[in-house]
């Protein structure tokens, strides 16, 4: 079976202006959403308390609120979580309060109103303000360092302009996935950072496969008597790897969809980030990484020997 005919020849590079417009719009919308709505940071970053409780039978949200109001948490965020019996309660940290007792007070309040046997503690998370700051810093550092390390590796294996193309695709993907989180208001938590880094790895994986083929074809092209235009060689390379690009996206998407639909509420947003990342990652490896690399042609050409030496690497 074959989804993509082996002699396929789509003019990807010719349509790069069109792709530029699409990417531009997606990036603008994402940045706009990030600037206006912002990310819905979870307690991992803001600090705060989260209590997940399973009730014997689905309670009314107002009853839950009136149960915890006497304890001083009437302004908590209360929502259903996956099923009507499961309720998620979120409270911000207060200054100068031993915040770790909030969860105890909330559970006590619920037990008083609904009866201790009618509720079950599913999860308690509490992140102090200082830890929240540390996690935020560590998260940002992780993304930056991953990008830097990848830039170094790709520069070492390819040319510098390839590395810039790859990092442009990465920035593009991360911005759009973040934009989606801002637009949908989904919670941005620590596992989502992990998903983002995986998206980085995945998007890069795709880009590298295309770049590898470009490098191979560039080397072959140089040996010809009348070398073809770089744009043409790049376009051929993308077409040659198209089948693989789509295949891998499909298999990865299959498992991530399984995770999204069956993995449970806790892992839901994590899987969402991965799905979004696979789509934009596949798109960017075709329409962003290579065009950026081509646009930078000639700017970072060292001497010819260096390029020959680079192409001789396996």
């Amino acid at each position: 079976m074959q989804l993509i005919r082996s002699d396929i020849n789509v003019d990807f590079i010719g349509k790069r202006k069109f792709a530029l417009i699409i990417s531009g719009i997606m990036l603008l919308v994402s940045l706009g959403a990030l600037a206006t709505k912002g990310l819905n940071f979870g307690i991992d970053f803001t600090g705060g308390t989260l209590v997940e409780v399973k009730f014997e039978k689905a309670p009314a949200i107002t009853d839950v609120r009136s149960a915890i109001s006497p304890k001083g948490y009437g302004n908590a965020v209360i929502q259903e979580f996956g099923a009507p019996e499961e309720i998620l309660i979120r409270v911000q940290n207060k200054e100068a309060e031993n915040s770790s007792v909030i969860s105890t007070a909330i559970l006590d309040g619920l037990a008083e109103k609904f009866g201790a046997d009618a509720i079950e503690m599913r999860r308690v998370e509490f992140v102090g303000p200082q830890v929240g700051e540390e996690l935020t810093r560590a998260g940002i550092m992780a993304v930056l360092i991953a990008m830097l390390a990848i830039l170094i590796y790709v520069t070492f294996r390819f040319e510098f302009r390839f590395a810039l193309g790859a990092d442009a695709a990465l920035l593009h993907d991360i911005t759009i996935v973040l934009g989606l989180f801002a637009l949908t208001g989904k919670e941005f938590s620590l596992p989502v950072i992990a998903a983002l880094l995986t998206v980085i790895g995945y998007s890069l994986n795709d880009t590298i496969v295309v770049f590898d083929r470009i490098r191979e074809n560039f080397a072959a092209n140089r040996k010809r008597k009348n070398p073809l235009d770089e744009n043409l060689v790049v376009n051929d390379s993308i077409n040659q790897t198209l089948s693989r690009t789509l295949m891998t996206s499909v298999t990865t998407l299959l498992v991530v969809l399984a995770l999204f639909l069956l993995g449970g509420e806790v892992i839901h947003d994590f899987a969402f980030a991965l799905i979004a990342g696979i789509f934009v990652g596949t798109y960017s490896s075709i329409y962003v990484a290579s065009p950026v690399m081509l646009a930078l042609a000639g700017r970072f050409k060292g001497n010819e020997d260096e390029i020959k030496e680079m192409e001789a690497r396996p």
């Binding site: 079976m1 989804l3 082996s6 399973k54 770790s100 105890t104 006590d108 079950e120 503690m121 599913r122 999860r123 998370e125 509490f126 992140v127 102090g128 200082q130 830890v131 560590a138 550092m141 992780a142 360092i145 991953a146 990848i150 590796y153 790709v154 620590l190 596992p191 992990a194 880094l197 995986t198 980085i200 790895g201 890069l204 994986n205 590298i208 496969v209 590898d212 083929r213 089948s243 693989r244 295949m247 891998t248 499909v250 298999t251 990865t252 998407l253 299959l254 498992v255 991530v256 969809l257 399984a258 995770l259 069956l262 993995g263 449970g264 806790v266 892992i267 994590f270 899987a271 396996p314």
Partner: protein, 526 residues
């Protein structure tokens, strides 16, 4: 076709056998002769097992200032002994200030201070003033000691709960990670761990005027402390006491603490037994102050202030209150385990109820099974025989991940399961790359065997490049991630490495084995 070296078949078989053996403990208890390195099952993280996860911050600065405050007493006594008069003796967090009254005694004072305080740097900014600053290395030592001692105390308290395999380890310089698997009562755990359990015995100043003291004129050497919250006439109220500042006895002098029944009110109480030194002090104290009251102060609150009716030689005291059996039990535990050297604060908690953990396991296993079934079917349809070969490699890959996680003692978390699911999707990528390349070679007119060689050779560098970049992301994640995220990084890394072996070497081996006896192959099922 290139020959597939015999040692590689051996390698594949060895890895297969070790993987099977390493994975077995996850399904059933292995027989006793099983190699010990392969006998441990994978550890489940708290998010799957359920339990309490706390990160505590030790207020180490308090430990230092507490120690300095103790040194002030030493200074006072030393100066008095040498009959050196001072007009000021004060301390803040890490320094003491002494002002000597008579100019003629300055030299003597300097000598006394130098003899007693070699852990301080002593400066003499003005003629009669000495400033003693705690040496940084001493402060550091005190902080480290405070954290280590806090770990010891907390371990004793948790052990008394009788739970299995709690984890109590130092994290960074001043934090402590506490994990209690299978324990649900987060409120009780936090209360048990977080209480300082500072116990003090002070004499009540019977001659002092409490009302005057409350209005501001506290007699020198005295201190006002309060009893527990009570409701009187519908108003919240705390009984004030005027006490001597000096602590006569402390929790350090307790040998044992047990739950008892207070015979007067038939209530739960905790009976303390002093150690030899404490008993002797208590004996002397009660002998000298018959008719006066002494206050038992627990964590800064006056628990009670009974009258000393007679000299008490036996060396025991009782703490009462309207305790529930569990409260009395826990109080006895923390008094027995000793006081925390400095206050601790919970800065992070991630506790999971047992039902959520089980749900997460079920859902995780479901996603793995369904996700991989989908991939297996898809590969089989798309690449036919070669797809089936890739499928064998994929199953091998999952087995290898399971075994590797068990052998290296990795912890499986919920994000870790997500990492495995993701690896399944990405593991076939290497095979997709190879098979697509073989198809290309075939369409260029190469013979089937040459096409297989070409496909594997040309795809190899791409596979390595692509996987190393993902590995970089995973390693960075491991370095910076905390808790669950680390679990994801571990399974992702293990999965990537395992998939490179199975997708390249194992599939090649199977294909080589299947085509070995045949000289010509007309068509590939790809």
């Amino acid at each position: 076709m290139h020959s597939f070296p015999r040692w590689k078949y051996g390698l594949i078989l060895t890895v297969l056998v070790v993987s099977l053996m390493g994975a077995l403990p996850n399904l059933t208890t292995p027989p006793s002769w099983w190699p010990s390195a392969l006998s441990t099952p994978m550890t489940l993280g708290l998010d799957l097992k359920g339990g309490i996860h706390l990160v505590l911050d030790v207020d180490v600065d308090k430990a230092v200032s507490h120690s300095v405050a103790g040194d002030i007493d030493t200074a006072r006594q030393a100066l008095r002994k040498e009959r050196i008069r001072y007009s000021k003796l004060s301390n803040d967090n890490s320094s003491m200030t002494v002002v000597i009254r008579e100019a003629g005694e300055i030299d003597a004072a300097q000598q006394v201070l130098q003899e007693n305080f070699n852990t301080y740097t002593i400066s003499n900014p003005a003629g009669s003033t000495f400033v003693l600053n705690l040496k940084p290395e001493t402060a550091k030592e005190l902080k480290k000691f405070a954290v280590d001692q806090a770990i010891e105390v907390i371990r004793n308290r948790i052990d008394a709960l009788g739970t299995t395999e709690p984890t109590i380890i130092k994290q960074g310089e001043r934090r402590i990670l506490v994990q209690i698997p299978g324990f649900e009562d987060s409120a009780r755990a936090k209360d048990l761990i977080g209480r300082t359990a500072q116990l003090e015995f002070k004499l009540v100043d019977e001659k002092g005027d409490l009302d005057k003291a409350l209005s501001g004129s506290i007699p020198p050497g005295d201190i006002i402390m309060y009893g527990p919250d009570q409701t009187r006439n519908g108003k919240s109220y705390r009984q004030p006491y005027l006490l001597k500042r000096h602590t006569e006895l402390s929790g350090n002098e307790i040998a044992d603490a047990r739950v008892s029944i207070d015979s007067r009110y038939n209530e739960y109480a905790v009976t303390l037994k002093f150690n030899t030194k404490g008993a002797r002090k208590f004996d002397k104290l009660t002998a000298a102050h018959v008719g006066e009251r002494f206050a038992i102060i627990l964590e800064g609150t006056v628990n009670s202030a009974p009258v000393i009716r007679e000299r008490i030689a036996g060396g025991s005291a009782q703490i009462t209150g309207s305790f529930s059996p569990e409260e009395a039990h826990d109080l006895a535990i923390i008094l027995r385990a000793g006081a925390l050297p400095a206050p601790v604060k919970v800065v992070e908690e991630r506790s999971i109820g047992p039902s959520l953990g089980q749900d997460s396991i079920d859902q995780g296993v479901n996603s793995i099974l369904i996700g991989s079934a989908l991939v297996l079917i898809f590969m089989g349809i798309y690449y036919r025989m070669f797809g089936m070969v890739a499928n064998v490699a994929l199953v091998f890959n999952m087995l290898l991940i399971l075994a590797a996680m068990s052998i290296i003692g990795g912890t499986l978390t919920l994000p870790g399961i997500a990492g495995i699911v993701l690896t399944i999707g990405m593991a076939v990528d290497a095979n997709v790359l190879i098979f697509e390349r073989i198809r290309e070679e075939l369409s260029l007119g190469k013979t089937p065997l040459a096409a297989i060689d070409g496909g594997y050779d040309k795809a190899l560098s791409t596979i390595v490049d692509a996987n190393i970049t993902t590995l970089i992301a995973a390693i960075v994640l491991f370095q910076f991630g905390s808790g669950p995220v680390k679990g994801f990084a571990v399974t992702l890394s293990v999965g990537i490495l395992a998939s490179m072996f199975t997708a390249i070497t194992v599939t090649r081996g199977i294909i080589a084995f299947a085509t070995a006896k045949r000289n010509r192959i007309e068509k590939l099922s790809i």
